[in-house]
């Protein structure tokens, strides 16, 4: 036990654990909206689109300072989103195909740049490829502070425009009829999602980041039928996955943090899918007969209501 406490006092560990938890909270909240808008894949596109930004930022500035590289990532993420929306609006290409195109083009370009940089063989390039799968061990306290600031901005944006984001996710047509510019509103929500993605790039990396957006939301939806609670539970699930993944990977030599976080998250998602009351598969199977009997009763209640 005392060994565990000592373990927690460790600087690297504390930094990594806190950073991973922060990433889980923001991606849980923003991912919930993506999932409810049936845009789970959007996160995948956006995070892959970050890679060329990381590389270009390095090539232009010659520095590996995370803040600079993440700024580049945010810009190319956002350009990826803009390209995606443009393709969907201006062409007859369907949304899923457009996502496939944008994802591959941006990621392919990113890999080309990454290879080009590594072939140059200067010492400074070491570490850029960690943005592929993330490497939490490279986190320093300063990075965690940056992540926290970005996280607060993202969560504050959701708190501020909660009503608008909810309306956009549930009934965009009605939003339009009320006079909301749903295009602009969608772009705003996507921009906040970009912030959430940028927070996770160092820890989880561009390839696995999409799971951090989708997983907590899917798990949370199993436990509640209220949006506010869903956001809170998704944040908690994301934080728990980040924390436990980081702790497990740090407790053993040669376990990567990012993938461990995703595996912890997967375990939480599986438990939610199987055992959550009412929506869980296990519950569903046990109660299917009972539910069939209860349905007609609900309809009689309706007849009596007016």
């Amino acid at each position: 036990m005392s060994a565990f406490v000592e373990f927690l006092g460790d600087y690297t560990l504390r930094t990594v654990a806190l950073g991973s938890a922060l990433l889980g909270v923001t991606s849980g909240v923003l991912g919930s909206f993506a999932v409810l808008r049936r845009q789970g894949l959007l996160g995948d596109v956006l995070s892959h689109a970050a890679l060329p930004g990381v590389c270009l930022a390095f090539l232009l500035t010659g520095t590996r300072t995370p803040a600079v590289l993440l700024a580049g990532a945010a810009v190319s993420c956002w350009l990826g989103a803009a390209a995606l929306f443009r393709v969907v609006e201006e062409t007859r290409i369907s949304e899923d195909s457009a996502m496939g195109i944008v994802l591959s083009v941006f990621f392919g370009f990113g890999i080309v740049l990454l290879t080009f940089i590594s072939k140059r063989g200067d010492a400074a390039q070491a570490g850029l490829s960690t943005y592929l799968f993330g490497q939490a061990a490279t986190l320093v306290w300063e990075n965690v502070v940056t992540m926290a600031v970005l996280g607060v901005i993202a969560i504050a944006a959701v708190a501020l425009w909660y009503k608008e984001f909810k309306l956009l996710a549930f009934d965009p047509e009605f939003a339009t009829s009320l006079g909301y510019n749903t295009r602009r509103l969608g772009l705003l929500l996507t921009s906040v999602t970009v912030v959430a993605i940028v927070i996770g790039l160092q820890t989880v990396g561009v390839v696995l980041m999409a799971a951090m957006l989708v997983g907590p939301a899917v798990a949370a939806r199993q436990w509640t039928s209220r949006l506010g609670r869903m956001l809170a539970i998704a944040a908690a699930v994301g934080a728990l996955a980040g924390l436990s993944g980081a702790l497990i990977s740090m407790s053993q030599p040669r376990l990567p943090t990012g993938p461990m976080i995703i595996l912890s998250l997967t375990a939480l998602v599986l438990v939610s899918l199987l055992f959550a009351p009412e929506r869980g598969l296990f519950w569903d199977r046990r109660c299917r007969r009972g539910r069939r009997l209860r349905r007609p009763a609900a309809d009689t209640a309706e007849e009596g209501a007016p």
């Binding site: 409810l36 009503k163 608008e164 549930f170 009605f174 009829s177 006079g179 509640t224 007016p306």
Partner: protein
């Protein structure tokens, strides 16, 4: 725009030379339609006739190729707050994590504008709207647990919460049970008695003459529009539906 004395002032809806196309395919051609205040109007026509497009174009929700729309004498942009909307029930995902009251509250978002949240006054109004559709007991019910008819009533309550003068409703009777259908008819008549103007996309030719007092027959072009008795004739229906009139006189189910 608070005058409710029927014929006085500009018409509730005045559409002139409206043409709408999706990509290169024209959906509405040169539609002229004027609806007086305080009427219950049905928009009737075959599938793909542009009925939904017509009400969406009237609310500035789809781009138009040509034409103008005026609501109580002024463009929609200036009159938005006077217009309520009930989309097709199937246009949203009813598994969304929210309850009936919360959906009805969305009807108050227009007056709240950006950022401001609904407060006690809005909640009280939303509850009154739920009461008008007989759904008070279901206010806190998750929306996926409501029957189709109950979901439709929630949508109607949301439109009531908009407190509008002109309502567009897209197939409010689609897929609802007989109880809800009666409740909706009562509600429409109550609204008319309060001087509201209602425009409904409607599918059932059988019930149309009983429920509505004005009709617009549409098939890409506007075939005919006017008071039900003069306009809803077999000749006009044949012209609207071509040879494929779905209900020859006397056929089909008797109205409930």
């Amino acid at each position: 725009m608070s005058s409710r004395d029927g014929a006085a002032g500009p018409p509730a809806l005045a559409i002139r030379d409206l043409t709408v196309a999706y990509r290169d395919k024209p959906v509405l051609w040169d539609v002229d339609l004027t609806l007086p205040r305080g009427m219950l109007t049905a928009i009737i026509g075959p599938n793909g006739a542009g009925k939904t497009t017509l009400i969406k174009a009237a609310m500035d929700m789809v781009p138009t190729v040509a034409g103008t729309v005026e609501i109580f004498g002024r463009p929609y942009r200036e009159q938005r707050r006077l217009v309520g909307y009930v989309p097709q029930r199937t246009s949203v995902d009813w598994d969304f994590p929210t309850d009936a009251l919360d959906v009805v509250l969305m009807g108050t978002y227009g007056e709240l504008g950006w950022v401001r949240r609904p407060g006690r006054a809005q909640v009280a109004r939303a509850m009154r709207c739920l009461e008008q559709v007989g759904m008070t007991a279901f206010a806190r019910r998750q929306i996926s647990q409501l029957s189709g008819g109950q979901q439709q009533r929630v949508f109607l309550a949301r439109a009531l919460a908009q407190d509008a003068e002109l309502y567009f409703m897209d197939e409010p009777f689609a897929g609802v049970d007989a109880t809800t259908e009666r409740a909706i008819v009562e509600l429409l008549k109550t609204l008319r008695a309060r001087g509201k103007t209602l425009v409904c996309v409607h599918h059932d030719l059988q019930s149309a003459p009983d429920y509505f007092d004005w009709v617009a027959l549409l098939n890409g072009r506007l075939i005919a529009a006017g008071p039900m008795a003069q306009t809803f004739t077999e000749e006009n229906l044949v012209r609207t539906y071509g040879g494929r009139l779905p209900l020859p006189a006397g056929a089909g189910a008797a109205p409930a």
